[in-house]
Symmetry: C2
């Protein structure tokens, strides 16, 4: 891989992850938690790409509120590599700003954009897909990764593949919004539909050209940041100008409109870790289907997920399919299949300005 | 009530209450917990009889392990009024030893014997029954209180009433062991069957005479304690001799055998607080049937009981009929109707010598 030294990674780590309350909090969101292993999801993301991209060329975009915690979690990164958004404006400004950073070093550098809060089961297969994605964007294409679906999932967008452009690289026929159950089943039966993973590959100049073409307001804002950066005043420009950037996703704002868009199909034990339900699915379980991230005692209990601080005993008697997450100041009990609804708790706490949110 | 100054109370407070784990522990059993209100069950017991019997004539019998905590909970009692059993020998030795104490002051004093861990809903009605019980034992009878049943309960023994001896005082036809469901329903339909409450009234000399007649081994042991007490050495005698006392209940050992046994029917919102299920039944509940002894947030949750330390939030989403009891080092989740099974947790912890039992 002679071109490897020029590649960059952009890790999107601005999520608030309220679906993992009470483990996740405003000041300690999902990506900073060890939800599937011993290391935080963010650290896992950075470490598993290290053989492709070193820390010096890994940028992490997060919120200003989380910048300090993010730098502390990744001390091997130069502090300036953690870009702090004054407020969230969805993924197009996030990726655009990071690409502008990369362009200042090397306009033709290839960039891989990765969410900070996903789980990867097969890291070798994953890196193989990353290498393929980098190769596919070499000539200026915008490339995404599509996950081979294993169930009729209604929680993800889909990508319909077009004809093969190279080995393991397809044209994109179209992006499809989250389907209903019936359509999701049709997609699975038909084949040729992949889950939209939120991972991207492109050259810095290619994505910035696409932004200029399809999101001129964003291009103008990024040009102002570049200009301020040349004067050593980028922070002030970002602080003052970020709110004016268009609030739009990279998918909607660019990928669905651009011409040369490709998809690399992948199958590497991917999970977006969307809720406690997923945490249970990924966890080691006993013969009764119980998973515990702590000291637990199960008496005629089945299919439960229990997490509590070290030294604390969780005793479950005669209960089934529950998620129980205990922290020093808040405890959640919810059926596994309703774990998404924890967002209602966080909303209720926010409405009362409760600090435990 | 001219005779009131001579009355004594004996509060039986030796229970271990493992059914209230994790709130109850070896060192902090049920009677020391505020399970139905702000005060501990033990303190409530002593305070609600204060207008009948002052602290100086209230004896509390507990285990040696709990003597210090019991004295701390009831600082208004003379420390010597807390009698510490070196080991539990059921209720006959407990009551006999306390009666021997009373006899040293006044052989003809009337004694009311009360469990420390019951809940009383209507305290005025309760005290009326206590006054009636004291009156009924005046002439030497052994008197018990029978609760008017409100459901076909299979968890209690029953007392079948005989003819009326005075207003609100009946002869006892027989004591009945815990019935099966069918018999309990027959009792309820037939009338004349009362729940055996474990409360008793008798003169000190009367119960000690009955012990001499029906449990001579206990009488011999108590005589040895009296003799040692006269020499100021009762503690050593109890320490050395308690294990030799017969391990039998007052019901089986005395009440079922004695001649002049009476029962005072009562109806005063009585509950033996047998499990977390009962705690939920007695607690104030919201419109959805949820009760919480702490800061709680219920989202589409019904009929739950939640208890946690101060400052901790319990969030229940989409769950029904659960008991959730959180403490700093242990958390219990169990369906309300299976709350009795928490004993299995305590047994498992004891088998592993886990200090959290």
């Amino acid at each position: 891989m002679p071109e490897a030294p020029l590649d960059w990674a952009v890790v999107m780590a601005g999520g608030i992850g309220s679906r993992f309350w009470p483990a996740s909090r405003r000041a300690r969101p999902k990506q900073l938690l060890p939800l599937a292993g011993e290391r935080s999801l963010l650290r896992s993301t950075v470490e598993r790409i290290r053989e492709l991209v070193p820390p010096e060329r890994t940028l992490v975009v997060t919120s200003a509120a989380l910048a300090e915690a993010t730098r502390a979690e990744l001390p091997e990164l130069p502090p300036a590599n953690v870009l702090a958004e004054p407020l969230g404006r969805n993924t197009a400004p996030c990726v655009g700003w990071a690409a502008a950073h990369v362009r200042r070093s090397d306009a033709s550098a290839r960039i891989m954009v990765l969410p900070a809060d996903h789980h990867i089961g097969d890291e070798a297969a994953y890196r193989e897909v990353l290498r393929r994605g980098l190769g596919a964007c070499e000539g200026g294409a915008l490339v995404t990764v599509g996950i081979e679906p294993t169930r009729p999932e209604t929680g993800y967008g889909y990508i319909e593949t077009g004809e093969a452009e190279a080995e393991g690289v397809h044209a994109v026929r179209r992006f499809v919004e989250k389907p209903n159950r019936r359509r999701a089943e049709q997609f699975l039966a038909a084949g040729g539909f992949l889950w939209n993973s939120g991972m991207f590959f492109f050259r810095a100049d290619a994505i910035l050209a696409a932004i200029e073409a399809h999101l001129p307001g964003l291009a103008t804002g990024l040009a102002a940041f570049d200009e301020a950066a040349a004067r050593g005043q980028e922070s002030a420009a970002v602080e003052g100008g970020y709110a004016d950037l268009p609030n739009v996703s990279l998918d909607h704002g660019i990928m669905e409109k651009a011409q040369d868009v490709r998809v690399v199909p992948g199958s590497f034990g991917w999970s977006d870790l969307g809720s406690w339900t997923t945490a249970w699915e990924l966890a080691d379980k006993d013969a009764e289907g119980n998973a515990s991230a702590s000291d637990a005692l199960f008496v005629d209990a089945h299919g439960n997920y229990a997490s509590a601080p070290a030294g604390k005993l969780v005793a479950l008697v005669g209960v089934e399919g529950l998620v129980i997450v205990d922290t020093p100041d808040a405890l959640l009990v919810v059926p596994r299949e309703r774990a998404q609804e924890v967002k209602a708790v966080v909303s209720a706490l926010a409405a009362q300005d409760d600090p435990r949110r």
